[in-house]
Protein backbone atom coordinates (compact mmCIF):
# COMPACT_ATOMS: atom_id res chain seq x y z
CA UNK A 1 0.00 0.00 0.00
CA UNK A 2 1.43 3.34 -1.01
CA UNK A 3 0.97 6.59 0.75
CA UNK A 4 -1.64 7.73 -1.76
CA UNK A 5 -4.09 5.22 -0.36
CA UNK A 6 -4.51 7.33 2.70
CA UNK A 7 -7.35 9.28 1.16
CA UNK A 8 -10.36 7.49 -0.17
CA UNK A 9 -11.53 8.77 -3.52
CA UNK A 10 -15.12 8.48 -4.57
CA UNK A 11 -15.52 8.19 -8.30
CA UNK A 12 -18.39 10.06 -9.97
CA UNK A 13 -21.24 7.85 -11.16
CA UNK A 14 -21.24 9.15 -14.71
CA UNK A 15 -19.26 11.46 -16.94
CA UNK A 16 -19.88 15.11 -16.13
CA UNK A 17 -19.81 17.84 -18.74
CA UNK A 18 -17.27 20.54 -18.03
CA UNK A 19 -18.69 24.03 -18.08
CA UNK A 20 -17.22 26.40 -20.62
CA UNK A 21 -15.69 29.80 -19.94
CA UNK A 22 -18.63 31.64 -21.54
CA UNK A 23 -20.59 32.39 -18.34
CA UNK A 24 -17.49 33.60 -16.59
CA UNK A 25 -16.56 35.96 -19.40
CA UNK A 26 -20.08 37.37 -19.34
CA UNK A 27 -19.74 37.86 -15.56
CA UNK A 28 -16.44 39.63 -16.22
CA UNK A 29 -18.02 41.96 -18.76
CA UNK A 30 -20.87 42.72 -16.37
CA UNK A 31 -18.39 43.52 -13.58
CA UNK A 32 -16.38 45.71 -15.92
CA UNK A 33 -19.43 47.65 -17.05
CA UNK A 34 -20.61 48.18 -13.47
CA UNK A 35 -17.14 49.38 -12.47
CA UNK A 36 -16.96 51.82 -15.38
CA UNK A 37 -20.45 53.07 -14.57
CA UNK A 38 -19.44 53.64 -10.95
CA UNK A 39 -16.35 55.61 -11.91
CA UNK A 40 -18.32 57.54 -14.53
CA UNK A 41 -20.99 58.48 -11.98
CA UNK A 42 -18.35 60.05 -9.78
CA UNK A 43 -16.35 61.76 -12.52
CA UNK A 44 -19.32 63.30 -14.30
CA UNK A 45 -21.31 63.61 -11.04
CA UNK A 46 -23.65 66.58 -11.21
CA UNK A 47 -26.36 64.91 -9.14
CA UNK A 48 -26.81 65.02 -5.36
CA UNK A 49 -24.30 63.35 -3.07
CA UNK A 50 -26.83 61.05 -1.42
CA UNK A 51 -28.08 59.82 -4.80
CA UNK A 52 -24.51 59.02 -5.86
CA UNK A 53 -23.90 57.13 -2.60
CA UNK A 54 -26.96 54.98 -3.10
CA UNK A 55 -26.06 54.30 -6.75
CA UNK A 56 -22.48 53.39 -5.86
CA UNK A 57 -23.47 50.98 -3.11
CA UNK A 58 -26.10 49.37 -5.36
CA UNK A 59 -23.65 48.87 -8.19
CA UNK A 60 -21.02 47.45 -5.85
CA UNK A 61 -23.64 45.12 -4.37
CA UNK A 62 -24.73 43.83 -7.79
CA UNK A 63 -21.15 43.33 -8.92
CA UNK A 64 -20.26 41.41 -5.77
CA UNK A 65 -23.40 39.32 -6.11
CA UNK A 66 -22.50 38.36 -9.69
CA UNK A 67 -18.93 37.50 -8.78
CA UNK A 68 -19.92 35.40 -5.76
CA UNK A 69 -22.67 33.56 -7.63
CA UNK A 70 -20.64 32.69 -10.74
CA UNK A 71 -16.94 32.88 -9.92
CA UNK A 72 -17.23 31.50 -6.41
CA UNK A 73 -19.96 29.04 -7.50
CA UNK A 74 -22.37 30.07 -4.75
CA UNK A 75 -25.28 29.52 -7.14
CA UNK A 76 -24.35 25.83 -7.46
CA UNK A 77 -25.78 23.00 -5.37
CA UNK A 78 -24.20 22.10 -2.03
CA UNK A 79 -23.50 25.69 -1.04
CA UNK A 80 -26.07 26.02 1.74
CA UNK A 81 -23.55 26.45 4.54
CA UNK A 82 -21.29 28.82 2.60
CA UNK A 83 -24.37 30.97 1.98
CA UNK A 84 -25.35 30.81 5.65
CA UNK A 85 -21.80 31.74 6.71
CA UNK A 86 -21.41 34.68 4.33
CA UNK A 87 -24.96 35.92 4.86
CA UNK A 88 -24.67 35.92 8.67
CA UNK A 89 -21.44 37.87 8.29
CA UNK A 90 -23.17 40.36 6.01
CA UNK A 91 -26.04 40.86 8.49
CA UNK A 92 -23.60 41.65 11.29
CA UNK A 93 -21.59 43.97 9.05
CA UNK A 94 -24.84 45.72 8.19
CA UNK A 95 -25.50 46.51 11.87
CA UNK A 96 -21.94 47.74 12.25
CA UNK A 97 -22.27 50.09 9.28
CA UNK A 98 -25.44 51.52 10.85
CA UNK A 99 -23.44 51.99 14.04
CA UNK A 100 -20.65 53.78 12.19
CA UNK A 101 -23.01 56.08 10.30
CA UNK A 102 -25.48 56.98 13.04
CA UNK A 103 -24.17 56.17 16.51
CA UNK A 104 -20.40 56.52 16.61
CA UNK A 105 -20.48 60.30 17.02
CA UNK A 106 -23.33 60.51 19.52
Amino acid sequence: MTAEHATAVEQPKKRVKHEGPKKHIIAYIFSLVLTILAFATVITGEVSVNFVYVMLVLMAGVQVFIQMAFWMHMKDRGHLFPIIGILSGVIIVFTMIIMAVYWAWW
Binding site: A8, H18, Y28, L32, A60, I92, I97, A100, W105
Partner: protein, 205 residues
Protein backbone atom coordinates in the same frame (compact mmCIF):
# COMPACT_ATOMS: atom_id res chain seq x y z
CA UNK B 1 -14.70 7.07 4.86
CA UNK B 2 -11.87 4.63 5.48
CA UNK B 3 -11.55 2.09 2.64
CA UNK B 4 -8.46 1.64 0.51
CA UNK B 5 -10.23 1.91 -2.83
CA UNK B 6 -8.48 4.20 -5.22
CA UNK B 7 -8.49 4.14 -8.99
CA UNK B 8 -4.91 4.99 -9.85
CA UNK B 9 -4.20 7.72 -12.32
CA UNK B 10 -7.81 8.83 -12.87
CA UNK B 11 -8.52 12.21 -11.36
CA UNK B 12 -12.24 12.56 -10.68
CA UNK B 13 -14.34 15.47 -11.86
CA UNK B 14 -14.17 18.25 -9.24
CA UNK B 15 -11.14 16.67 -7.53
CA UNK B 16 -11.39 19.21 -4.70
CA UNK B 17 -14.54 17.46 -3.47
CA UNK B 18 -13.38 13.88 -4.06
CA UNK B 19 -12.22 13.21 -0.48
CA UNK B 20 -13.74 14.01 2.88
CA UNK B 21 -10.55 15.93 3.71
CA UNK B 22 -11.07 18.01 0.58
CA UNK B 23 -14.72 18.71 1.33
CA UNK B 24 -13.82 19.67 4.90
CA UNK B 25 -11.18 22.05 3.63
CA UNK B 26 -13.51 23.77 1.19
CA UNK B 27 -16.32 24.14 3.74
CA UNK B 28 -13.94 25.27 6.48
CA UNK B 29 -12.50 27.87 4.16
CA UNK B 30 -15.94 29.15 3.24
CA UNK B 31 -16.75 29.60 6.92
CA UNK B 32 -13.40 31.33 7.39
CA UNK B 33 -14.46 33.73 4.63
CA UNK B 34 -17.61 34.41 6.66
CA UNK B 35 -15.31 35.46 9.50
CA UNK B 36 -13.23 37.53 7.08
CA UNK B 37 -16.44 39.29 6.03
CA UNK B 38 -16.89 40.46 9.61
CA UNK B 39 -13.20 41.39 9.85
CA UNK B 40 -13.33 43.64 6.78
CA UNK B 41 -16.80 44.84 7.74
CA UNK B 42 -15.43 46.07 11.06
CA UNK B 43 -12.54 47.80 9.29
CA UNK B 44 -15.00 49.40 6.88
CA UNK B 45 -17.24 50.65 9.67
CA UNK B 46 -14.24 52.11 11.49
CA UNK B 47 -13.17 53.84 8.28
CA UNK B 48 -16.67 55.17 7.63
CA UNK B 49 -16.84 56.56 11.16
CA UNK B 50 -13.47 58.31 10.87
CA UNK B 51 -13.21 59.26 7.19
CA UNK B 52 -13.96 62.97 7.67
CA UNK B 53 -11.53 63.42 10.56
CA UNK B 54 -8.58 64.73 8.54
CA UNK B 55 -7.05 66.76 11.39
CA UNK B 56 -5.92 69.56 9.07
CA UNK B 57 -4.34 67.18 6.56
CA UNK B 58 -5.44 66.59 2.97
CA UNK B 59 -9.02 65.39 2.49
CA UNK B 60 -9.94 62.31 0.49
CA UNK B 61 -11.07 64.50 -2.38
CA UNK B 62 -7.75 66.35 -2.55
CA UNK B 63 -5.69 63.22 -2.14
CA UNK B 64 -7.01 60.41 -4.30
CA UNK B 65 -6.16 60.01 -7.95
CA UNK B 66 -8.86 57.97 -9.67
CA UNK B 67 -6.57 56.95 -12.55
CA UNK B 68 -4.38 54.76 -10.36
CA UNK B 69 -7.43 53.31 -8.63
CA UNK B 70 -9.08 52.52 -11.97
CA UNK B 71 -5.97 50.73 -13.23
CA UNK B 72 -5.64 48.80 -9.97
CA UNK B 73 -9.31 47.83 -10.16
CA UNK B 74 -8.96 46.60 -13.73
CA UNK B 75 -5.89 44.54 -12.80
CA UNK B 76 -7.51 42.87 -9.81
CA UNK B 77 -10.79 42.21 -11.64
CA UNK B 78 -8.93 40.56 -14.51
CA UNK B 79 -6.84 38.49 -12.11
CA UNK B 80 -10.05 37.20 -10.58
CA UNK B 81 -11.14 36.03 -14.05
CA UNK B 82 -7.78 34.33 -14.71
CA UNK B 83 -8.09 32.45 -11.43
CA UNK B 84 -11.50 31.21 -12.61
CA UNK B 85 -9.78 29.92 -15.75
CA UNK B 86 -7.23 28.15 -13.57
CA UNK B 87 -9.95 26.31 -11.66
CA UNK B 88 -11.68 25.39 -14.92
CA UNK B 89 -8.40 23.98 -16.24
CA UNK B 90 -8.13 21.98 -13.02
CA UNK B 91 -11.62 20.55 -13.56
CA UNK B 92 -10.61 19.54 -17.11
CA UNK B 93 -7.51 17.90 -15.57
CA UNK B 94 -5.06 20.08 -17.51
CA UNK B 95 -2.36 20.87 -14.94
CA UNK B 96 -0.18 22.81 -17.39
CA UNK B 97 -2.95 25.21 -18.39
CA UNK B 98 -3.86 25.56 -14.72
CA UNK B 99 -0.33 26.47 -13.69
CA UNK B 100 -0.22 28.94 -16.57
CA UNK B 101 -3.37 30.73 -15.45
CA UNK B 102 -2.21 30.72 -11.83
CA UNK B 103 1.07 32.34 -12.92
CA UNK B 104 -0.86 35.04 -14.77
CA UNK B 105 -2.95 35.59 -11.62
CA UNK B 106 0.17 35.96 -9.48
CA UNK B 107 1.69 38.44 -11.95
CA UNK B 108 -1.47 40.54 -11.90
CA UNK B 109 -1.38 40.39 -8.10
CA UNK B 110 2.22 41.64 -8.08
CA UNK B 111 1.29 44.49 -10.42
CA UNK B 112 -1.59 45.45 -8.14
CA UNK B 113 0.64 45.38 -5.09
CA UNK B 114 3.31 47.49 -6.82
CA UNK B 115 0.71 50.07 -7.76
CA UNK B 116 -0.59 50.18 -4.20
CA UNK B 117 2.89 50.68 -2.73
CA UNK B 118 3.54 53.46 -5.25
CA UNK B 119 0.23 55.05 -4.26
CA UNK B 120 1.02 54.86 -0.52
CA UNK B 121 4.45 56.45 -1.05
CA UNK B 122 2.88 59.29 -3.04
CA UNK B 123 0.31 59.92 -0.31
CA UNK B 124 2.98 59.92 2.38
CA UNK B 125 4.84 62.64 0.45
CA UNK B 126 1.69 64.74 0.48
CA UNK B 127 1.58 64.59 4.27
CA UNK B 128 -0.94 61.73 4.46
CA UNK B 129 1.16 59.55 6.80
CA UNK B 130 -0.14 56.78 9.07
CA UNK B 131 -0.03 58.96 12.20
CA UNK B 132 -1.33 62.16 10.54
CA UNK B 133 -5.02 61.89 11.42
CA UNK B 134 -7.79 59.47 12.30
CA UNK B 135 -8.69 59.43 8.60
CA UNK B 136 -5.17 58.44 7.54
CA UNK B 137 -4.84 55.78 10.26
CA UNK B 138 -8.12 54.12 9.35
CA UNK B 139 -7.38 54.45 5.61
CA UNK B 140 -3.99 52.75 5.84
CA UNK B 141 -5.35 50.07 8.15
CA UNK B 142 -8.26 49.15 5.88
CA UNK B 143 -6.43 49.36 2.54
CA UNK B 144 -3.27 47.93 4.11
CA UNK B 145 -5.16 44.91 5.47
CA UNK B 146 -6.42 44.31 1.95
CA UNK B 147 -2.92 44.75 0.53
CA UNK B 148 -1.61 42.33 3.14
CA UNK B 149 -4.20 39.80 2.00
CA UNK B 150 -3.06 40.27 -1.61
CA UNK B 151 0.58 39.76 -0.58
CA UNK B 152 -0.30 36.61 1.37
CA UNK B 153 -2.31 35.35 -1.59
CA UNK B 154 0.65 35.85 -3.94
CA UNK B 155 2.94 33.87 -1.63
CA UNK B 156 0.33 31.18 -1.13
CA UNK B 157 -0.49 30.66 -4.81
CA UNK B 158 3.22 30.66 -5.71
CA UNK B 159 3.80 27.94 -3.13
CA UNK B 160 0.92 25.93 -4.60
CA UNK B 161 2.28 26.30 -8.14
CA UNK B 162 5.56 24.87 -6.89
CA UNK B 163 3.76 21.97 -5.23
CA UNK B 164 1.78 21.14 -8.37
CA UNK B 165 4.95 21.22 -10.46
CA UNK B 166 6.59 18.81 -8.02
CA UNK B 167 3.75 16.43 -7.34
CA UNK B 168 1.20 17.00 -10.07
CA UNK B 169 -2.50 17.58 -9.71
CA UNK B 170 -3.83 15.13 -7.10
CA UNK B 171 -6.74 14.88 -4.73
CA UNK B 172 -4.40 16.41 -2.13
CA UNK B 173 -3.29 19.45 -4.13
CA UNK B 174 -6.64 20.12 -5.84
CA UNK B 175 -8.56 21.32 -2.73
CA UNK B 176 -5.68 23.63 -1.84
CA UNK B 177 -5.84 25.26 -5.27
CA UNK B 178 -9.61 25.50 -5.14
CA UNK B 179 -9.60 27.34 -1.79
CA UNK B 180 -6.76 29.59 -2.92
CA UNK B 181 -9.05 30.47 -5.84
CA UNK B 182 -11.89 31.28 -3.43
CA UNK B 183 -9.51 33.42 -1.41
CA UNK B 184 -8.46 35.34 -4.50
CA UNK B 185 -12.08 36.03 -5.50
CA UNK B 186 -12.80 37.18 -1.97
CA UNK B 187 -9.93 39.67 -2.18
CA UNK B 188 -11.45 41.03 -5.37
CA UNK B 189 -14.89 41.26 -3.76
CA UNK B 190 -13.43 43.26 -0.86
CA UNK B 191 -11.68 45.53 -3.35
CA UNK B 192 -15.01 46.29 -5.04
CA UNK B 193 -16.17 47.77 -1.74
CA UNK B 194 -12.86 49.53 -1.15
CA UNK B 195 -12.91 51.36 -4.47
CA UNK B 196 -16.57 52.19 -3.90
CA UNK B 197 -16.51 53.28 -0.27
CA UNK B 198 -12.99 54.62 0.13
CA UNK B 199 -12.10 56.11 -3.24
CA UNK B 200 -15.30 56.92 -5.12
CA UNK B 201 -17.24 58.10 -2.08
CA UNK B 202 -14.14 59.98 -0.97
CA UNK B 203 -14.11 61.78 -4.30
CA UNK B 204 -17.77 62.66 -3.99
CA UNK B 205 -17.17 64.23 -0.58
Amino acid sequence: MSGHSHADGVLPHEPEKATLEGRNKVLGFWLFLGGETVLFGTLFSVFIALRDQVNGGPTANELFSLTIVAIATLILLTSSLTSVFAIQAMHRNEPKAMVGWLLVTVLFGLAFLGLEIYEFVEYAHEGHTFAASAFSTSFYTLVGFHGGHVAFGILWISLLIWQVLRRGLTVVTAPKIYIAGLYWHFIDVVWVFIFTVVYLMGKVG
